[in-house]
């Protein structure tokens, strides 16, 4: 294995990084960015292997922040350090941000029209269906025991019905859940199953 040549392949220029992420940021329609990321990074450009991709994805999902931007940062940093991370993230965000800025101005002009209201109310109902699917798929991968379901319901009820602020719920439920899964002697914890063929919210 020639170390030098493989690392040379794995170090694209900053401009190339920006361009590849810009294309992914512009084409990943429909909320499935993770699938587009895998195609762009693993399949097309060979910047990562599948094992590394899943490893970076699991970091992205554990930390706060959206999967799409967390992945951009982690991959950009691996390829070209801090500037790689910055350019990858900017490329990923630029198309969507431009579109949603335009959407805000369009909404100002046509948002009160009853036809656009009917359309927007329809897509809100449809988007809710998408969110519940993403939640079910995340849950089927993450939730293992009865206690995990108790944590889910307690967290959701606290926030949605008892108006507990999210940070308090996050910290309180987080401490209980982490303590429940605390490292114990003689028990080997397995990380999450690999998220294969799943819809991702980012």
């Amino acid at each position: 294995m020639n170390e030098a040549s493989s690392s040379a392949e794995a170090r694209p220029s900053l401009g190339r990084i920006f361009w590849v992420f810009l294309v992914m940021g512009a084409t990943s329609l429909g909320g499935g960015v993770v699938g587009y990321l895998r195609t762009g990074l693993v399949v097309r450009n060979n910047w990562l292997d599948d094992v590394t991709f899943v490893e970076l994805l699991s970091i992205s999902q554990t930390l706060p922040g959206l999967n799409a931007t967390n992945m951009s940062i982690l991959v950009g940093d691996r390829l070209r350090g801090a500037w790689g991370a910055i350019l990858a993230t900017v490329g990923m965000c630029l198309p969507g941000a431009t579109l949603m800025t335009a959407a805000a101005y369009a909404y100002n002009i046509g948002g009160d029209d009853p036809w656009s209201k009917a359309f927007l109310h329809g897509i809100a109902a449809g988007a809710l269906g998408l969110i519940v699917v993403v939640m079910v798929q995340l849950g089927s991968r993450v939730l293992k025991g009865f206690a995990d379901y108790v944590i889910v319901l307690a967290t959701a009820a606290a926030v949605a019905f008892f108006h507990v602020q999210v940070p308090y719920a996050l910290i309180a439920a987080g401490i209980v859940a982490i303590w429940w899964h605390r490292p114990r002697e003689g028990k080997v914890h397995k990380p999450h199953n690999e998220p294969v063929g799943e819809r991702h919210h980012e």
Partner: protein
């Protein structure tokens, strides 16, 4: 200027809550942008959120729309930077020390524990969103059909979501 400061504060705070996806921040997003600052109404926020699901790239680009509604282009830019910079720096830093954390015995506990909590937060977000989006039988039916369609097939979510909008228009025409 004060508005830009408020935008920066609100979205930087919200970004730290997006554990397990943007939906985890939805309850606080609603509280702050609708109830506290009155930047948008709840239906407006829902509309931007749903449009954001159709936009390419990260699915929370609706923060940029709210920034633009409040303070034009500077507002959009501030919302974007505030929403992605704090978590970005965190991810960048943790990413660099992750190999050392890989063997840390608490790491699986944190990953599994936070996994359950994030599902709970997404569920809370979905419930709150449902209160605004499901205002009648038709809208409930749309949500349920899209749910099963996406669960059972590999179809790109953009299609059924746009179709939901068209059904909404059809209902407006007929009713």
């Amino acid at each position: 200027m004060k508005q830009l400061g408020d935008i920066a504060g609100v979205f930087a705070y919200l970004s730290l809550l997006t554990v397990g996806g943007g939906m985890a921040a939805f309850p606080e997003l609603k509280t702050l942008t609708v109830d506290t600052y009155h930047w948008v109404t709840f239906p407006e926020m829902l509309h931007f959120y749903s449009l954001g699901q159709l936009a390419p790239g990260p699915n929370m680009m609706m923060v940029v729309s709210i920034g633009a509604v409040v303070a034009g282009l500077p507002g959009a830019a501030v919302a974007l930077i505030a929403f992605f910079l704090p978590t970005g720096i965190l991810t960048w830093g943790i990413g660099r020390i992750w190999t050392r954390l890989a063997t840390w015995r608490w790491r699986p506990a944190i990953q599994t524990g936070l996994g359950s909590v994030s599902v709970g937060l997404v569920l809370a977000g979905a419930i709150i969103m449902g209160r605004g989006a499901v205002t009648g039988v038709l809208w409930a039916a749309i949500a349920i059909v899209v749910f099963f369609l996406l669960l059972k097939t590999k179809i790109n979510p953009a299609y059924p979501i746009v179709a939901s909008g068209l059904v909404g228009m059809l209902a407006h025409w007929l009713l």
